[in-house]
């Protein structure tokens, strides 16, 4: 127990320190004026002028169109997998609906996987499609945040930066070097990194064992630094090759939190309002600690029905106890809970334990964090989501006390609030709308692995994960059907671009405005009080929308668990 608390404190402490270091570095990347040699080469190749400044519409269009081209390229390669090289196991191409789902999933930084890595993707596809899309998807998120923060920092200007410069620099100065270094640490800890596809072994008892290997470490490093989350293997970061030791587990966790937490510091630096940056960091942290406590408590307490069946779930010096169904022993309850809280906060979506087998309140945590979608959030977009709620807070508080809302010295008017509401509403409409549709769809029952409220949670989780661009799953659900592939694919695209583009428009609109000096009527936003107000608005606006759906899933399941109700 004590070691668990110390471990949690250590991780949060390291995260805070790394947020400062990375935050400073990102500030230099976003504000620097020089262009390194490989960058100048890339600009010439792309045929762009690095000195061009872009308004939000052009910046957003470049992002949207380049993402579309990359997604299409990934789709084509997946469809032609059988003709591509480095496919010694002779794996067939993905079907059209599955390839659409996969390409949409990875370009939107979701990494939902309706396929199983070992049996569906060649090593070529794992690299040229999956690793590629993980890099560009994550980089696009960071770049959107760069444009967004720049927009907030300017006044009377249409310019929010140059998309191509931001993209190239983020890739060359942040993503690639970090990933190479981290991949080598991962290999040292035991992750495979080879061009071979398999190794054959004869076990101690004489059975044949086929060990699937490949470029795993290079995949894992971008997967977590990029808050991507897709697994090389079907069982993702629970697989010993993807997450061999407790140390790699903690490195995964710190990698996921790295950029989302650092962006609050970068924001503070670029706006010369450090205090404001820390207030946003604190907002993230308060929510995160609350959710972590909830999932750890629920999983350590365990499942009373397992005790009745003969399992000893007591924590002792010889065992971690708790609900170990779908968990790995080297992580136990503490490291699994920390991972669960992190992967759905930072909307990564990799898993080191099977969320489908969590206790009801344990499963409530990932669902709730993805529904709020701004407890750290994914690379770039998490920060944008938080600002969306901060604007909403300023607006609501302003209305309550009868003052015109201002944020960072800019007046918040009807146009900004309309865009914010579009972004706020797209999220629940996609989640609840698609879930309702799936609940009515006749074939859905055949895809469920569990019945009762847990079966409903499997479907709700799928669309929440897709829309929040998370990618984790209640993986019992068989989502590889044309209906689920198509609708979840659409949910991912809606969740990504109906948040990112309206919020870029908000940034563009704020950049055009004059900065007005703070007056007596201005609500100070760099205070602990404002931090609590934002948490409150997130929970009320973000949370209450989903309460009826949560009541039908994990909440009623918890009551049934306590009364001993089971399902066949």
């Amino acid at each position: 127990m004590l070691s668990t608390l110390l471990e949690f404190a250590l991780v949060l402490g390291l995260m805070t320190g790394l947020a400062v270091l990375m935050g400073k570095w990102l500030t230099r990347v976003f504000t620097g004026t020089g262009h390194a040699l490989p960058e100048r080469f890339t600009y010439r190749l792309l045929g762009i002028n690095p000195l061009e400044t872009m308004g939000w519409a052009r910046y957003g269009s470049a992002l949207l169109l380049s993402n579309a081209a990359m997604m299409l390229l990934g789709y084509i390669v997946l469809r032609l997998q059988a003709l591509m090289p480095i496919n010694p196991l002779g794996l067939a191409a993905q079907t059209p609906d599955l390839a659409f789902n996969t390409a949409a999933s990875f370009i939107t930084n979701t990494n939902w996987q309706a396929y199983s890595g070992e049996t569906s993707l060649s090593n070529f596809s794992q690299m040229a499609v999956i690793t590629f899309l993980m890099f560009v998807g994550a980089t696009s998120g960071v770049v959107a945040a760069a444009g967004f923060i720049r927009g907030l920092s300017r006044s009377s200007s249409a310019d929010i930066g140059n998309f191509w410069v931001d993209f190239t620099r983020t890739l060359y100065r942040v993503m690639l070097p970090l990933c190479v270094a981290m991949a080598l640490v991962y290999v040292w800890q035991g992750m495979p990194q080879t061009f071979a596809s398999q190794a054959l072994a004869t076990t101690l008892e004489g059975a044949q064992q086929q060990l699937i290997v490949g470029a795993v470490a290079s995949f894992e490093s971008i997967k977590h630094i990029g808050t991507n989350g897709g697994g090389f293997f079907s069982m993702n970061a629970a697989h010993p090759f993807e997450n061999p030791t407790p140390l790699t587990n903690i490195l995964h966790i710190l990698s996921m939190l790295l950029i989302p937490s650092a962006l609050t510091y970068t924001f503070g630096s670029m706006l010369l309002q450090r205090r404001q940056g820390w207030v946003f960091f604190g907002t993230f942290l308060v929510m995160f600690i609350g959710f972590l406590a909830l999932v750890y408590g629920a999983e350590q307490t365990g499942n009373p029905l397992l005790t009745q069946a003969g399992a000893n779930q007591t924590l002792s010096i010889e065992q971690s106890g708790g609900n170990m169904e779908g968990k790995e022993l080297r992580f136990g309850i503490a490291d699994s809970s920390l991972f669960i809280a992190t992967t759905t906060a930072a909307t990564t979506g990799s898993v080191n334990a099977m969320h489908d087998s969590l206790t009801p309140m344990g499963g409530f945590v990932p669902l709730a964090q993805m529904m709020l979608n701004c407890v750290f959030g994914g690379d770039g977009v998490g920060f944008i989501n938080l600002i969306q709620y901060a604007l909403l807070t300023v607006f609501l508080v302003g209305m309550m006390i009868g003052r015109s809302p201002e944020f960072l010295g800019k007046k918040i008017e009807a146009r900004e609030m309309k865009l914010v509401m579009l972004s706020v509403l797209a999220h629940p409409i996609s989640i609840l709308g698609f879930t309702a549709l799936a609940a009515l769809w006749p074939d859905t029952m055949a895809s469920l692995n569990n019945l009762g409220p847990h079966g409903f949670s499997e479907v709700l989780y799928a669309y929440t994960s897709g829309t929040a661009n998370n990618g984790s799953a209640f993986a019992g659900l068989n989502a590889n059907t044309p209906f689920f592939n198509t609708t979840i694919g659409l949910a991912m695209l809606i969740g990504r671009f109906f948040t990112m583009l309206p919020m870029l428009a908000v940034a563009g609109s704020l950049a055009m405005k004059k900065t007005v000096p703070a007056g007596a009527g201005t609500i100070p936003t760099a205070t602990p009080l404002f931090m609590l107000l934002v948490v409150f608005v997130v929970l009320v606006v973000g949370g209450l929308t989903f309460l009826p759906a949560l009541a039908l899933g994990p909440l009623v399941e918890q009551l049934q668990l306590l009364s001993g109700q089971t399902y066949n």
Binding site: S116, A183, A309, G322, G326, D356, S357
Partner: protein
């Protein structure tokens, strides 16, 4: 700003960036990392393969299916494999490293509870425990990967008497061997104390090779 000026000149960078960044991040990056990894850490980079008498017997990181009572047994595994009779069907094939998998059964699933009860009963019989003794949770629940190489110390200690009896090793000697193969928390904080079943069983065979051959 007009629509025309928003999209002007975007076609080339959009197309070139897709192809160029695919080559860079999808091929050059993993290729470079692979070469570096193979030079620096060739053993780990190839899958931490363990050889005995020139034969690859497994990976130090991946669990194996142990059914013989003179071996320590790993956690229940829910991995599937192709049915030898009908390859289009999947059947239970524990510790199939070609297809990691979990039960994904929820906490109120009767199927899960039946499985746990059956495993607890078998565990008590195998290890001579009273019929109502609680069994360590890791011994009766399936792991997430289906390839979990570890068991808890509690679980290993309950299996100790059985293995010692079948192998005619004094329990004190076996306890020593077990302690030598128990990994502590990293830095005293990270992860859980644990026993790698494959490595412990390898040590058992090395301790008393005749048993392994005769069985």
């Amino acid at each position: 700003m007009t629509t025309q000026s928003i999209f002007k000149g975007l076609l080339r960078p959009v197309l070139v960036s897709a192809v160029f960044f695919m080559l860079l991040t999808g091929l050059a990056y993993p290729a470079f990392t692979t070469v570096a990894a193979q030079l620096l850490f060739p053993y780990q980079a190839s899958g931490s393969l363990i050889e005995r008498d020139g034969l690859v017997i497994g990976s130090a990181l991946i669990g194996q299916n142990f059914t013989k009572p003179e071996y320590f047994q790993g956690r229940p595994s829910m991995t599937l494999g192709a049915d030898p009779q009908d390859p289009s069907k999947s059947v239970s094939q524990p510790y199939n490293a070609g297809s990691s998998g979990a039960s994904n059964l929820g906490p109120t699933s009767q199927k899960l509870l039946d499985q746990v009860a059956a495993r607890a009963k078998a565990y008590r019989q195998d290890n001579g425990l009273p019929a109502d003794a609680p069994v360590p949770v890791d011994a009766v629940t399936a792991s997430a990967s289906g390839l979990d190489p570890h068991i808890s110390v509690a679980n290993a200690r309950l299996q100790l008497a059985r293995v010692a009896r079948l192998r005619h090793i004094p329990e004190a000697d076996l306890l020593q061997l077990l302690n030598d193969h128990t990994a502590a928390r990293t830095l005293g904080l990270l992860g859980e104390p644990r026993v790698n079943v494959l490595q412990l069983n390898l040590a058992l065979d090395a301790h008393q090779p005749s048993i392994a051959v005769s069985e």
